[in-house]
């Protein structure tokens, strides 16, 4: 930073130093030490060039950066399979209530309100999923998957089949986390090829299922927004062989209030509260991925769990618990947002949510000029970029002021553009999205190859970034970055 950046700062110490004024803070809190006084001289350093810009400079810097970013607060964000839906602002108010800020180590009798809300959320999620018991502890969807499969493993072990049931079946169209979950839990992953209609091939499933089957992991509706019509038959096949059915809740927003995994025969499921109940995506920060199970599996849920007693609510350890997957009863303030969302919408509102999500996806699929195989859809659809590169078309969409969909996945759709508008978008926004799709598709090859041209960052060198990653600020401007320094 040069001296040109230096301006007026509202720093207390400077007022006192430069002009001899007593700082306002010191006046308000007599006896408070200046920061510099707190540390002995031999522990402080002057040689560090810490930036000291004026406050307006800092505010303008971050405001400008925020304007360069694109998020769901700025426009549609139709990332298929990710469900980037708008988070209502009232949830932030609820999570910011002082009453919500309680230490998890406080005794149960002093946090009855918190435990009651957790218990209510457990019950609400159980009702929504058709499950008998729900743990709120897992801190993310993937952690929920892992917890659910650990519970499955504990169940088989308790039945003396821990060794023999060594396989988990996963359709090739499943989210990558399903494969990772099964592998992390120590299972052999058996991949099921999709049928011609984009759904699970029931004959392939019948051939794969057997005494080694621990579970089938399934998402319904699946990754191209198709309802797995044969799910009951699939459940029978797996159950007859002694396996369990795992439901990946990634697409539950398509079914809210209309169909329940439990009624389809699923035994275990996770809920992505960020996709289904509009809490922020974790992004490595706090998230929540509650897990629901049928009654036979309830005794294996993580500890602690919340239950209702004659005197109120208490935390306890289920009898044959798989243990802990996170601290306490999970990321409470995220769960509180999920509860507030469910409570505000109620049965009617949740039914409206799924209806609107499905209507929006099908409306958008009809509006765009690209080919859209399969359908009609639930909450998302996979268009195909045809002989164009899906990622290039997506970049071209950026120039039309929207975020593009997920590209090149699932792989069984050629050059897929997996699109999920969510229920949050208005018809006007859906039309703007459709216009962006069509404008990108109509652009000539050179335009597409050079897109995006109107964004803050232009075409990103993905190959260079992967081959020569620069992973710290020290690599900026260092031509030798990536050589291991």
């Amino acid at each position: 930073m040069s001296d040109d950046d230096r301006g007026y700062t509202f720093d207390q110490a400077r007022w006192a130093d430069d002009d001899g004024y007593v700082s306002l803070l010191s006046e308000a809190a007599p006896g408070r030490a200046e920061p510099g006084d707190a540390l002995p001289d031999d522990l402080t350093r002057d040689e560090l060039a810490l930036p000291d810009p004026a406050e307006p400079t800092v505010v303008r810097h971050y405001t400008r950066l925020s304007a360069l970013n694109y998020g769901v607060d700025a426009g549609p964000y139709p990332l298929g399979s990710c469900t980037m839906k708008y988070n209502p602002a009232f949830l932030e108010d609820v999570a910011a209530l002082p009453e919500a800020a309680v230490h998890p180590d406080r005794p149960d009798e002093s946090v009855q309100g918190v435990l009651e809300i957790q218990h209510r959320l457990q019950r609400a999620l159980a009702r929504i999923g058709g499950m008998d018991a729900v743990t709120l502890q897992p801190p993310a969807g993937a952690a929920g998957e892992f917890t659910g499969i650990e519970v499955t493993k504990a169940y088989h072990r308790a039945n003396g089949e821990g060794e023999t049931r060594s396989e988990v079946l996963v359709p090739s169209s499943a989210h990558g986390t399903n494969f990772a979950t099964a592998a992390m839990a120590g299972y052999e992953v058996v991949e099921l090829p999709p049928g011609d209609d984009g759904r699970v091939d029931i004959d392939a499933l019948a051939a794969a299922v057997g005494p080694e089957t621990a579970a089938l992991m399934l998402t319904n509706p699946n990754t191209v927004g198709l309802f797995e019509r044969d799910v009951v038959e699939a459940a029978e096949l797996v159950h007859d062989a002694g396996g369990l059915l795992y439901y990946d809740g990634a697409n539950l927003n398509a079914l809210l209030g209309r169909a329940r995994p439990g009624d389809m025969g699923f035994d275990v499921m996770h809920y992505n509260v960020h996709k289904t109940f509009a809490t922020p995506h974790g992004g490595g920060g706090p998230g929540a991925g509650p897990v629901g199970v049928v009654s036979d599996l309830a005794e294996f849920l993580p500890t602690p769990h919340v239950r209702e007693t004659d005197d109120g609510y208490e935390r306890y350890g289920p009898e044959r618990s798989v243990g802990k997957v996170h601290g306490f009863t999970g990321n409470w303030l995220v769960l509180l947002k999920a509860y507030a969302y469910v409570a505000r919408l109620g049965d009617e509102g949740l039914r409206d949510t799924s209806a609107t999500a499905v209507l929006n996806a099908n409306y958008l699929a009809e509006q765009i000029g690209l080919d859209v195989p399969y359908g009609p859809f639930h909450h998302e659809f996979a268009a195909t970029a045809g002989d164009r590169d899906a990622a290039d078309l997506a970049r071209a969409m950026l120039d039309h002021g929207v975020h593009p969909p997920t590209t090149k996945w699932p792989e069984f759709v050629h050059e897929a553009m997996l699109t999920e508008p969510t229920e949050a978008e208005s018809r006007r926004d859906l039309d703007a999205l459709a216009a962006a799709f069509d404008a990108a598709a109509a652009a000539d090859d050179e335009t597409v190859a050079n897109a995006p041209e109107r964004t803050a960052a232009r075409r990103i060198d993905q190959v260079g970034a992967a081959r020569e990653p620069r992973l710290s600020w020290q690599a900026l401007g260092d031509e030798n970055a990536g050589t291991g320094d």
Binding site: K408, E411, Q462, V463, A466, R467
Partner: protein, 123 residues
């Protein structure tokens, strides 16, 4: 004919090739590198590791996909192509030459395809 498949080599349906003569080398085909797109990372076994035909021996990662590499033979890893760690692009630039992945000591070859049979499968 878009891609090249040296006729003296043998191929797995999963896109690995094996040379006929010593040193017996293994890599991925021209078709495979094109499908993968720009390769950014290659994970290889250690020399001395055992190989089982049809089992994964390594991983190749591009900006599009991560794929397992499958052994064409039963045997053992003799040496590996360490230059791929710094220059994974060799897999794209020269899949049958500098982009080779491992050298193997062969106990028994798995069921492999001729160049024509492989070409028929992929094209």
């Amino acid at each position: 004919m878009r891609f090249d498949y040296p006729p003296e080599r043998r191929y797995r349906p999963t896109h690995e090739w094996l040379t006929a003569d010593e040193p017996r080398r293994v890599g991925v085909t021209d078709f495979a590198q094109d499908e993968l797109g720009d390769v950014v990372f290659v994970e290889l076994p250690d020399p001395g590791d055992p190989l089982t035909a049809g089992d994964a021996f390594g991983v190749v990662e591009s900006i599009k996909a991560v794929s397992d590499l499958y052994a064409p033979v039963d045997g053992e890893v003799a040496t590996i192509n360490e230059s791929l760690f710094d220059r994974p692009e060799l897999v794209n630039d020269d899949p049958y030459g500098e982009g080779w992945m491992i050298e193997v000591r062969v106990d028994a070859a798995g069921e492999l395809l001729s160049a024509d049979e492989y070409r028929e499968q992929v094209e």
